[in-house]
């Protein structure tokens, strides 16, 4: 599994790409307000990280993110759960779905 340094590198590279910033100007303490990351940028940043690390971030996990560190912490935690087979993601919810199709998909990486 990728280490914390790798996750940090991936997140900072994604922010730099999306916001057209120099990576040197992005630290774990940078806030998304400072970096002028809006909600559409956030979707793109997560997409870039997902592509890079080849896993999926469940939408419901994308809350309360204020700093770069919050994202790195969150992704590290999700990757750990994923490695342990405890991350149920993504959830393919179907209205009136049977147990097989309602949130039943297990982690696939």
């Amino acid at each position: 599994m990728i280490d914390r340094e790798g996750v940090t590198r991936s997140v900072i590279a994604a922010i730099a790409k999306v916001r057209e910033l120099d990576e040197k100007n992005i630290t774990l303490e940078s806030t998304f307000d400072e970096l002028k990351v809006d909600s559409l940028d956030a979707m793109e940043i997560i997409f870039e990280v997902e592509e890079d690390l080849d896993f999926k971030v469940p939408t419901e996990q994308m809350t309360d993110l204020e700093t770069v560190k919050d994202v790195v912490d969150g992704i590290e935690r999700l990757l750990q759960l994923n490695a342990e087979g405890k991350l149920t993601q993504p959830t393919y919810k179907r209205p009136g779905g049977s147990p097989e199709t309602d949130g039943g998909a297990s982690a696939q990486v």
Binding site: V18, E20, L40, M43, E44, I46, F47, E50, E51, K56
Partner: protein, 411 residues
């Protein structure tokens, strides 16, 4: 102008034009190529056409978004939308307008676009179906939407009036310009940027054109006997429309007056045109502009180069103009640009405005042998000088939708 004047019929003039097409990335390149009868049609580049039977297209060549756009946001939007922004910029610059908050609030944008960001969609689908990826780029939806061009122009310039997009296949841009004109004439707003954009060179979409068997394996030869069909094109074009009163008040250079718009439907067949639908659209455009048929000197034809369109269009023109038809210069500039589908009407509106401004009818290029079914003066191969009081530009879409614009020379 205020909302209180809504309902009055104000005169509308064109004070800016912008175009990017197979004939180059600017209005000057476009118009010099067109008046020299040079075709921009050539071998299709940058698309895998191994499974496509045709090989020629009217592509915008050597286009590097980095030359036009500073922000990543604009560099990475769909090519179609980029064409719209580039054309709008050129048109707005030519107009020489000085922007105020009040004017921005009363400025609208109406665009025509038939298929939206189909290049983006093609890339997205190729990832999912071809490359086995399971996720798409989060900007895919805002890049694909057909109104992306109108929205991007609105956001870049801060235009907050009526902003919308018309999608009526090959007639999209004429519907867009026509409704922008009517909105402006009726007092709904004080300024309009109107036109269209299209970029559909993707393997998936070209394959669909191949299936309908109307695309030429040669080049585009409108009105020629045994003409081989249409050529798919791409590009963007925009007009700046404002009231005559406002243009005169600021001493703007007026390029032409947009005075009439007519639209009809054939209610007949998805792909086969009727003669009556196009004829009625031309009549309505002339009536809307108070133009007598004998005042018209130039017709920018829909002129796709297909067997069905060209003969039918000539018959419709004869039906409307009667004896005067033989005096008309009727050319198809698609012979040089290809058929840019949702952008075609806007590209041809620019050609029509410049034809009136300069007194030059651009030719029908690639013309070889006359067709008895197209026996009007189709301006074969060489541009013709003439003093035109008025001109019309025709667009007739699949689905039987007809939209015609009528312009007067500004003298």
């Amino acid at each position: 102008m205020t909302h209180g004047e809504a309902g009055s019929r104000r005169r509308v003039v064109v004070t800016g034009t912008g175009v990017i097409s197979a004939l180059g990335n600017s209005r000057d390149e476009f118009w010099s190529a067109m008046t020299e009868g040079r075709s921009g049609i050539g071998p299709i580049e940058d698309v895998d056409i191994a499974t496509i039977t045709f090989s020629q297209g009217g592509q915008v060549r050597g286009f590097d978004p980095a030359e036009f756009f500073e922000s990543r946001g604009e560099r990475e939007i769909d090519r179609s939308t980029q064409f719209g922004l580039i054309a709008a910029k050129e048109a707005i610059e030519q107009s020489g307008l000085e922007w105020t908050d009040e004017l921005r609030a009363r400025t609208g944008v109406v665009t025509g676009c038939a298929v939206g960001g189909i290049g983006t969609q093609d890339t997205c689908f190729k990832r999912l179906y071809g490359e086995g990826k399971s996720r798409s780029h989060p900007h895919t939806i805002p890049r694909i939407m057909s109104n992306a061009g109108a929205s991007q122009i609105s956001m870049r310039y801060g235009f907050m009036g009526p902003v919308y997009t018309l999608s009526t296949a090959c007639a999209s841009s004429n519907h867009a310009i026509g409704l922008a004109f009517w909105n402006l004439r009726g007092g709904l707003c004080d300024l309009m940027v109107a036109g269209g954009h299209e970029a559909l060179f993707s393997r998936g979409h070209l394959g669909a054109w191949d299936a309908i068997r109307v695309v030429s394996h040669d080049t585009c030869r409108p009105f020629t006997k045994d003409r081989p069909g249409m050529i798919v094109g791409e590009g963007g074009a925009m007009l700046v429309l404002e009231t005559l009163e406002a243009a005169e008040a600021r001493n703007a250079t007026i390029l032409a007056e947009l005075c009439g718009f007519g639209m009809t439907a054939d209610a007949h067949h998805l792909t086969m045109p009727s003669q009556d639908g196009p004829a009625r659209a031309i009549e309505l455009a002339l009536a809307d502009g108070n133009i007598a048929p004998k005042e018209v000197g130039y017709v920018n034809a829909h002129g796709t180069g297909t067997d069905a369109n060209d003969a039918n269009e000539i018959a419709a023109i004869k039906q409307v103009f009667g004896d005067h038809a033989k005096n008309l210069l009727v050319s198809s500039t698609k012979s040089m640009t290809g058929h840019a589908i949702g952008a075609a009407g806007a590209i041809e509106a620019v050609a029509t405005v410049l034809a009136l401004r300069d007194g030059v009818a651009p030719p029908t290029a690639n013309f070889t042998e006359p067709d008895p079914a197209c026996d009007l003066d189709v301006v074969p191969n060489e541009a013709r000088r003439g003093s035109f009081d008025a001109a019309i530009s025709n667009t007739f879409a699949f689905g039987g939708l007809n939209a015609v614009l009528a312009f007067r020379a500004w003298k």
